[in-house]
Amino acid sequence: MDFKFGEKEEALREEIREFAREELPPGWLTVMLEEESRDEDWAFAMSISKKLSERGWLTMSWPEEYGGKGASLWEQLVYLEESGYWGIPGTMMGISGVAWVGPSLMMYGSEEQKEKYLPLIASGEPDGVWCTGYSEPNAGSDFANIQTRAVREEDEYVINGQKTWTSAAHRARWCWLAAVTNPNAPKKHQRISVLIVDMKSKGVTVNPLVNYAGYHIFNEVFFDDVRVPESSLVGEENRGWYQLMTSLAYERGSLGPSGYGYNKRILDELVRYAKETNLFQKHEIRCKLADMAIEVEMQRMLVSQTTWKMSKGEMPTYEPSRDKVFNDKVQERLAITGTEILGAYSQIDPLHRDSRWSKLRGCVESLYWLFPGISISAGTDEIEKNIIGQFGLGLPKSY
C-alpha cells in the first residue's frame, strides 16, 4: 500500500502547473465541454492543444511512433488531474480523438489507418479533431438499436442516416461512426461496424443543438448518401459493437482524473470565496464545504484505484461506470451547494461571466446549468448502474 506519487509524476505536476501559469489568463477557469461552444474559446483551446502537443503531453501515453511518449498511466493521471484543475483547454480536443479513437485505432485499426490518423491527433492541429457518431434519436441508452445504414457498393460504403447528441461535430474533421452493415443479423449487436468519415464529405450536414443555457455543445449530424472508401472500416465488419464496448471503457477511464481535478478546483475556489466573504464563519457553510471535501477526496481515491488497476495490465470492467456515477454525484453536489453559497449571484448567466456581478468567473453557475446534460452525454446513470450491478456485483440484467 502506497498512496504517494513517484518523483517523476511530481516533477510532471510541477511542469504542468508552470505551463498553466504561463499560458492561461489570470484566474482562468472553465467547465468541461464548454470550450467547444464559442468560436473564440475554441480557437484558444486549439492554440493550447498545439502547445500541449509540442510538450508531448497531448497523447503522452501513446507509443512514440504514433506521436506519444510512452508515458505511464500514472503520468497521464497527473496530467489529466492538473489539466482539469487548472481548466487547461484543448486537452481533449473535443474528447473523441485523444480519449478513445486513438486507443481504439491502436487496438483495431489497420496499419494504414494508424499511420494516417494517429499522428494527426497527436499533432494538436484542427485536422486531428474527431467527433463520435453513436447516439440516434431512437438509440440513446439502447445504443444497439441504431438505424444509420452503411451499404457496401463495390469499394465504397454508402452511408445514410442521422446521428444526434454528437458533441464537437461542428469542430471535428473526422467522425468515428457506428453504422449498421448487416441489417439481417440475428442479433442487434452483430449488425454494427465502425467507420471513419471525413466530415468534409459530400452529404454530411451538421445541425447545431443549442442547449437551454445557450451553449452549443451537441449537434445533429445527417448522412445523405455519404460515400467513404472501404478502407474506412475499422477492424472487422459487424464486430463494431464489441469494439465499441472496449473503447467505451477507455472513454470513461480517461474522464475520471480530469473530472476529479476539476471538482477539486471548484471546491478550492468555493472555500476561498467563503473565506474572503466571511461566509466561512457560518456553520451551515462550513458543513457544506466539509461534506463536499469528503466526496472530492473519495473521488480522488476511486479514480486512482481505476488507474492502478489498469496500470497492472487489467481491463477495468465496472470501475469506469462507478467513477462516472460518482463524478456525476460530486458535480451535482458542487453545483447545487456551490450556487447556494453564491446565493443570488449564482443567477448570472455564465455566458456573461465577465460581467461585474459574476463570481468565480461563472464556473459554478455554468456547472449548475450543464451538469444534468454532461452527466447524460456519456450514458445515463441508470445505464451505468446496470453495468455496476452486472459486472461489479454479478447481478442479473435489469433492463
Partner: protein
C-alpha cells in the same frame, strides 16, 4: 377541513389556465427572454382587463374584492406557464400599499395598478444578497421636505420598465439593524439620479441593478412609518415567500407532467422508459413531494387569508419549495435524457428559473433558521 377550491376559485383557475395556455406558449416565453422589456404589453393589457391586477383590492380602488387565495391561484398558474411579467412585483407592492399606505396613497396608486397602468417593483436586496436587515445599507438622508437616497440595489425585478419603486433605505443607524429602516415610493419618471441596468441572468428575467446617486424623494412618499420600515419589509417577505412558493408549485407540477408524459412515450429496450423502476420510482417520489409541498403552501396561504400569518408555516413552505422545485427540474431533465438538455425542450426553461426562485424571499438556510426559532419558542 376542506382541500378544495371554491366554485369561484375553480372558475378563476380555469380561466387563468386557458388564458395563459393561449397567450403564453413556451415560444412566447423564449421570445420574451430576448425582448428588451421582457414582457408583452398587449398581454399585460389583457391581464388588466381580466382584472388580475386588482384581484385583492376593494371595489373602491378598482378591485374585485378577491382574497389571498385567489391571488395564490393566479400566481400558481403563472408559475405553471412561467409567465414573464412584472405582475409579481407589482402585486406585491400593491399588497403593501393596501396594508401600510395612507388613504391618499391608496387612492392615488391602487386604481392605476388595477387598470394595469403602472408597473411597480421592490428595491430591497443589496450586495450582501440576503434578506437580513443588516444588509440594508442604502442611505436616506433627510434634507428639508425631502430625503436624499444614496446607494445601490441589486436584483430588482423589471426595474428597467417600472413606473414606481418601493425602496428600502436606512434613515438612521440603530443598535438593532431592523430599526432605522424606511420604505420610500419612488416615481421613476420624475426622479433624477436613478440609473438602471439589466443584470444578465441565465433566465433573462430582467432583474436589475438600480443605482441611487443623490436621488431626492419627497417625505410624502414614505410608506408606513419612518424608521419602522422593517415591518413593511417583513410583510413583503411573508407574502412574497408564500406567493413565490405557489409559483414554484405550479412550475414543479408542469415539469412533473412533462417528464411523466415523456416517460410514457419514450421507448428504449422495447419498453416505455416509465416502466423501468429507476424512472417510475423517481416520478413517484417527485409526485409525492409536490403534492405535499402544495398542501403545505396552501396551508400557509390560508393562514394569511384568515388573518393569522404563521412564520413557521411560511418558512417550512419556502424551505421545502426551494428543494422540491430544483429537484423536480433536475430529475425532469434527466428523465428526458439528452433531449431535456436542449433549448427546444421546455423543461430547461423551468430549470433556468430555479435559482431566481430559490433566492427570492429567503434561501433554504435562512428559513431553516426561522423554523428553529419558532420551534424554540413553542
Amino acid at each position: 377541513m376542506d382541500f378544495d377550491l371554491s366554485g369561484d376559485q375553480k372558475i378563476l383557475q380555469t380561466s387563468v389556465r386557458e388564458f395563459l395556455n393561449k397567450e403564453c406558449s413556451k415560444d412566447k416565453v423564449r421570445e420574451l427572454e430576448e425582448d428588451e422589456r421582457g414582457y408583452d404589453i398587449e398581454m399585460w393589457k389583457k391581464m388588466a382587463e381580466l382584472e388580475w391586477m386588482g384581484v385583492v383590492f376593494p371595489e373602491e380602488y378598482g378591485g374585485t374584492e378577491g382574497d389571498f387565495i385567489d391571488l395564490m391561484i393566479l400566481v400558481e398558474e403563472m408559475g405553471r406557464y412561467i409567465l414573464p411579467s412584472p405582475f409579481f412585483s407589482t402585486i406585491l407592492s400593491s399588497l403593501s400599499i393596501l396594508e401600510y399606505g395612507d388613504e391618499g396613497q391608496k387612492e392615488k396608486f391602487l386604481p392605476k395598478i388595477a387598470k394595469g397602468e403602472e408597473i411597480w417593483t421592490l428595491a430591497l436586496m443589496e450586495s450582501s444578497v440576503t434578506y437580513e436587515a443588516s444588509g440594508i445599507k442604502l442611505r436616506a438622508i433627510p434634507e428639508k421636505e425631502e430625503y436624499i437616497l444614496e446607494g445601490t440595489k441589486l436584483f430588482v425585478p423589471y426595474a428597467h420598465v417600472a413606473d414606481r419603486l418601493l425602496v428600502v433605505a436606512r434613515t438612521s443607524e440603530e443598535k438593532n439593524p431592523k430599526d432605522g429602516i424606511t420604505v420610500f415610493i419612488v416615481d421613476v419618471a420624475k426622479t433624477k439620479g436613478l440609473e438602471v441596468e439589466v443584470i444578465p441572468t441565465a433566465a433573462h428575467d430582467k432583474q436589475c441593478e438600480v443605482r441611487f446617486d443623490h436621488v431626492k424623494v419627497s417625505k410624502d412618499n414614505v410608506l408606513g412609518d419612518v424608521g419602522r420600515g422593517w415591518d413593511v419589509v417583513n410583510f413583503i417577505i411573508q407574502r412574497g415567500a408564500v406567493l413565490k412558493c405557489a409559483e414554484m408549485v405550479g412550475g414543479a407540477q408542469a415539469v412533473l407532467e412533462m417528464a411523466n408524459d415523456y416517460a410514457k412515450e419514450r421507448v428504449q429496450f422495447d419498453r416505455p422508459i416509465g416502466s423501468f423502476q429507476a424512472i417510475q420510482h423517481k416520478l413517484a417520489d417527485m409526485f409525492t413531494e409536490i403534492e405535499g409541498l402544495r398542501y403545505l403552501v396552501y396551508e400557509a396561504a390560508w393562514m394569511i387569508n384568515v388573518g393569522s400569518p404563521s412564520d413557521l408555516l411560511i418558512s417550512m413552505g419556502k424551505a421545502k419549495a426551494n428543494e422540491v422545485y430544483q429537484r423536480t427540474c433536475i430529475e425532469g431533465i434527466r428523465i428526458h435524457g439528452a433531449i431535456g438538455f436542449t433549448r427546444e425542450e421546455d423543461v430547461g426553461l423551468y430549470y433556468l428559473r430555479t435559482k431566481a426562485a430559490e433566492f427570492a424571499f429567503g434561501d433554504t438556510d435562512s428559513h431553516r433558521k426561522q423554523i428553529a426559532i419558532e420551534l424554540e419558542r413553542s
